[in-house]
Symmetry: C2
Subunit: 132 residues, 2 copies
DNA sequence: AAATTATTTCAACATCCATTGAATTAGTTT
DNA sequence: AAACTAATTCAATGGATGTTGAAATAATTT
């Protein structure tokens, strides 16, 4: 009964999803997926002002979705890149959580669900649910 | 050059991700994944007040993630269920968007990226990017 | 040292959003 | 019709959030 993916609370998951749930951040992430980039280039590419980009990049970084490093020659440039491990992890999580095989279309309440076997804690996927 | 998944703007995607980016809604969705359920049972199961549940269920429904129907015998009961097609669609989208194979770790700006081939519009995944 | 470049930080604003308690609707039972 | 039940709607509040313009850092170049 070992769990492959690390257990995370829904609060933690919501933090990452919140970071993703913005059109501009999705655009930024999509651009970053195509190559390491920096503020100025994202500006040219997406048309967003530098300070706004800086803000969104910080949100993405705080959520652990991207990393940053300074140029070794000219330290004025900061390169942002997608965190490969992170996106692989969340890709898996999302795939598991939304796995159609999990779906149990039984009725548990009301007149229609009166003679159904109730859900027990054992039915819950441990990798997704945590007791607060 | 046909596209399997329908094209969606990042604005549309952000709407769905916003609906997901809440701890309580994730809990609700996770419970719904295990069987059709209604407000009162979600209340017992999650400990959230009925009116708050009603609010979150509406958000999820507006995002197209769940469906609802009244009991055929006792119309006071409303059953909520995960929309199978919707979660299959978003599962695929998420898997495609976060596909590690998309990652092109090249440097496009600054001194380090001076002699790299720039990104062209053709490199963009059409199913993910939209103009405006 | 002064000017320039890349990026971030700050302050302010407007808007959205989760939560709460009370009132209301829809439907059934007595 | 009155009482009861399941669920929703309403109004209010407090906090988080995206955006903007200006100022400030950090690092390099002249």
């Amino acid at each position: 009964m070992t769990i492959a993916t690390p257990t995370r609370t829904f609060d933690e998951i919501a933090v990452v999803l919140k970071a993703l749930a913005d059109p501009n951040r999705l655009r930024i992430l999509d651009t970053l997926m195509q190559g390491v980039s920096c503020n100025g280039e994202l500006n040219e590419w997406l048309g967003l002002p530098p300070n706004l980009l800086s803000h969104h990049l910080r949100v993405l970084k705080k959520a652990g979705l991207i990393t940053s490093r300074r140029d070794s020659v000219d330290g004025r440039w900061i390169y942002y890149a997608v965190d490969l491990d992170a996106i692989a992890l969340w890709r898996t999580w999302f795939g598991d959580f939304f796995d159609p095989d999990r779906l149990q279309p039984r009725c548990l309440c009301g007149p229609e669900g009166e003679n159904q076997t109730p859900i027990t804690n054992l039915n819950l996927r441990v990798s997704h649910v945590t007791t607060n």
